[in-house]
C-alpha cells in the first residue's frame, strides 16, 4: 500500500486560506476513517505573492511508514486529485523562474482527477488545458474563484470541494467523513448541504491521452556548476533600444514571465485611446510596449492582470478588464500580439462581458 496525495493549485495570498482549509479538511476527513496524514505548501511559493500560482498538498496513508516517502519532496507528482481553485490556472502556471510555463495537470497521476472550480463545462475548460500523455478525468464543481485577503476570509468553496473529492476519489475520503468534519470539527453544520450538493452535482468528463491544447512542455534546465558564473553574478537584462524608425522598445527578463498570475486581462479600445501614457507609466510590471504610432500595447507574457492600467485610464470605455478565459484568444501561450489582434472591438466584441 502507498499513501495518496491531493494537490491544490491556487493563487497566492488570494486563496491561501482556502487551499489550507481544503488540505486540512482532507486529512481531517481521512482521520475519521482511521488514517493518518499531513499537509504542506510548496516551499518555493513562499513568500507568497498576490496572484502568483502556488500549491498545497495533502497526503493521507494508513501508517507513518506509508507517509514517509512523501514528507520531504518540495512537490509531489502522481497526485490522485489536482484541485484547481481558479479556473484560469487551467492555462498553465509559471510560478518561478527557470521552471517555465507548466501544464496544470502536470502533477496529476494517470487516471487521476483534475477537479476545477469553474462556471465553465469540462468540455469548455478542455479548450485551455494542456494535453497529457495519459488518460485522466476532468471534473468541474460549479463556482467561481473567490478572493480573500490575508486578513479577511470569506469563502465557502472548501465545503464544496471536499464534497466533490469524496465523489471523484472515494478511495481517499468518503462523504460521510467530510460531513463529520464539517459538523464536528469545523462546527459548520449549516454548510453541510454545500458538500452534499457538489457531491451530487460534480460533472466528470474522461479525458483521453493527447486530448487538450497542444502546449510545449517546459524545459526545466538549470546551468551546470561550470556554466554558472562565480561570485553570485548573473547578467543584467539588456537595457532595450529604439526600434528602427520607432520608439524605444524595452527588453524583458527572459527567465521569468509573470503572465500566469492573470485572472483578468486588460484590453484596450485604441479608437478611444488618447495616448495619455498613464497606463504605461503606472504599470508596476512595465508590461506596455510603445507602438510606432505612440499607442501603448500590452505584452501579455508579462502583464499579471493587476488592473491598475484600467483604474488609471481617464477615458471611459477605453480600457476594460476581461476574464482571462473569456478573452478573444482562449489559449494564450504568451505570444505578444499587435494592435489589430489586441483590440477586441475590432473583431466584433467580446464574449461574456
Amino acid at each position: 500500500m502507498s499513501a495518496n496525495s491531493v494537490e491544490v493549485a491556487y493563487r497566492g495570498v488570494r486563496q491561501t486560506s482556502l487551499a489550507k482549509r481544503i488540505s486540512r479538511g482532507i486529512v481531517q476527513s481521512a482521520r475519521k476513517e482511521g488514517k493518518l496524514g499531513f499537509t504542506f505548501g510548496r516551499y518555493g511559493d513562499s513568500p507568497e505573492r498576490v496572484g502568483i500560482p502556488a500549491r498545497q498538498f495533502a497526503v493521507i496513508g494508513s501508517s507513518e511508514t506509508e507517509l514517509q516517502p512523501f514528507m520531504t519532496p518540495y512537490e509531489l507528482d502522481n497526485n490522485d486529485v489536482t484541485v484547481v481553485l481558479d479556473d484560469t490556472l487551467c492555462r498553465g502556471t509559471e510560478s518561478w523562474a527557470w521552471h517555465g510555463f507548466q501544464p496544470v495537470n502536470r502533477l496529476t497521476r494517470p487516471g487521476g482527477v483534475l477537479l476545477v472550480l469553474s462556471k465553465m463545462s469540462p468540455g469548455e475548460l478542455l479548450g485551455f488545458i494542456a494535453q497529457k500523455g495519459a488518460e485522466y478525468n476532468l471534473a468541474v464543481v460549479e463556482g467561481a474563484a473567490n478572493w480573500s485577503t490575508l486578513w479577511k476570509y470569506n469563502d465557502d468553496s472548501d465545503f464544496r470541494i471536499l464534497g466533490a473529492i469524496a465523489r471523484v476519489a472515494p478511495h481517499l475520503i468518503s462523504l460521510g467523513s467530510v460531513e463529520q468534519v464539517i459538523v464536528q470539527d469545523w462546527k459548520r453544520g449549516d454548510k453541510i448541504d454545500l458538500a452534499r450538493q457538489s457531491y451530487d452535482q460534480v460533472k466528470v468528463r474522461p479525458v483521453g491521452a493527447g486530448e487538450g491544447v497542444k502546449q510545449a512542455l517546459p524545459v526545466r534546465s538549470f546551468p551546470k556548476l561550470q556554466e554558472m558564473k562565480e561570485a553570485l553574478v548573473v547578467p543584467a537584462v539588456p537595457a532595450g533600444e529604439p526600434v528602427a524608425g520607432g520608439p524605444y522598445r524595452a527588453e524583458r527578463n527572459p527567465n521569468y514571465r509573470s503572465h500566469s498570475a492573470r485572472t483578468n486581462r486588460p484590453v484596450v479600445d485604441f479608437a478611444r485611446c488618447t495616448r495619455c501614457s498613464l497606463c504605461w507609466l503606472q504599470c508596476p510590471d512595465g508590461a506596455f510596449n510603445i507602438t510606432p504610432d505612440g499607442f501603448y500595447d500590452i505584452d501579455f507574457e508579462y502583464c499579471n492582470g493587476c488592473g491598475i492600467c484600467v483604474a488609471v485610464c481617464p477615458v471611459k470605455g477605453c480600457m476594460t478588464m476581461v476574464p482571462e478565459l473569456q478573452s478573444l484568444s482562449p489559449f494564450d501561450n504568451g505570444e505578444s500580439r499587435g494592435i489589430s489582434e489586441l483590440s477586441p472591438f475590432d473583431k466584433g466584441g467580446l464574449r461574456g462581458i
Binding site: W151, P284, I308, A311
Partner: protein, 322 residues
Amino acid sequence: MEQIKGVKTVPLNEYYMSGHRTCQGCEPALAMKLTAKAIGPRSIVLGATGCMYVANTSYYTTPWAIPWMHTQLGAAGSAALGTSAGLKALMRKGKLKEEHINVVAICGDGGGADMGVSAISATLTHPQYDSLIVMYDNESYANTDVQASGSTPWGAVTRFTPSGTVHRITQTRIKKNMVGMLAAGHPGCKYVATVCPSFAVDMMQKIRKAIAIGGPTFVHCLTPCPKGWGFAPDLSHEMGIAAVETGVWPLYEIEDGMVRFNGRSKTIAEGGKREPVGEYTRRQDRFAHFTAEDTAYFQGTIDEMWQNWLVPAVIPLSRAAQ
C-alpha cells in the same frame, strides 16, 4: 539630467524591466521602475533584503538592466556609503574613469526604519559622498508575510499584531516619522523628500533632485501593498491618492532646510480640505476591525500632525506656553 516636467517628458527607457515575481498591483515594484527611470543608466543600485530583493531576483534571475547588488537588511546606508566611497577613491587615484555615477540604495521600511536606521543616519552625516537612499514603505515586513515594523500605522493588523477576541488592537505603536527625524537630525544632508508612486512625476522629479544636489540624500516612498494592507490589486494607485488626500501621507521635500509641500499636500498645508481618514482605512482589510472610535482616534493623530506640529506634518514638536 533634465528635470521631468510632466508625463510627456517622462523618459521612455526602462532600467527595471518586466519579469519579476512581485504581487499583482505591487507599488514597491512601481517605485523601482520609476526610480530606475529617473536615475538612468549611469547608476549602481544596491538593494537591501526585503520584497524588492526576494520577489525581484527570485530565483537566480533579475529584472534589472543597470548594475544591481544585494545588501543585507540593515545595510542600505552602509551599501550606499561603501559604494560611493569606493568609487570616489578609485576615480581620485586614477584607477577608474572619472564620471558621476549615481549610487542608489533601496530598502524597505523594515530594513530602513527599523534595523538600518543607524547606518542610514551615519551615511547622512558624510556630505562628501554622493548617494541616495530610497526607502519604500509598505508599512510592514511584507516579504516575510506581513509582520509589524516601526513604520506600521497605529491599529493595523499584521501577523505579529493580530486583532483578537480579547485585544482588538495589538498594534499600539505609533508610526515612525523617518523623514522628519532624518531632516531634523542631519544638517549635512541637503535633501530629503516624501513621495508616492501614485504621483509618478512628482516622485521622479524628487529622485532626480536627490541625485543631482550632491551629498547623501533620502527619499521616503509610501507604497501601498495589496498583500499586507488587504485590498484588491487594482486599488493600489487609488490607495496612494487616498493616503495623500486624507493627509495620512504628506508629500513634501526639504531642500537645504526649506520645507516645500507638493500637490494636494500643498493645498492641505495651506488650510485646504483633507478627506476623512475613513476614506483610506475602510478600503483596507488591515483596518477592518476598526470601530468608529478607532477611526476617530486615527483621525485625531492626523489632525494633530497637521494642526499642532511646529512644522505641520513634518516636525512633531510644538511650543510650550511660556
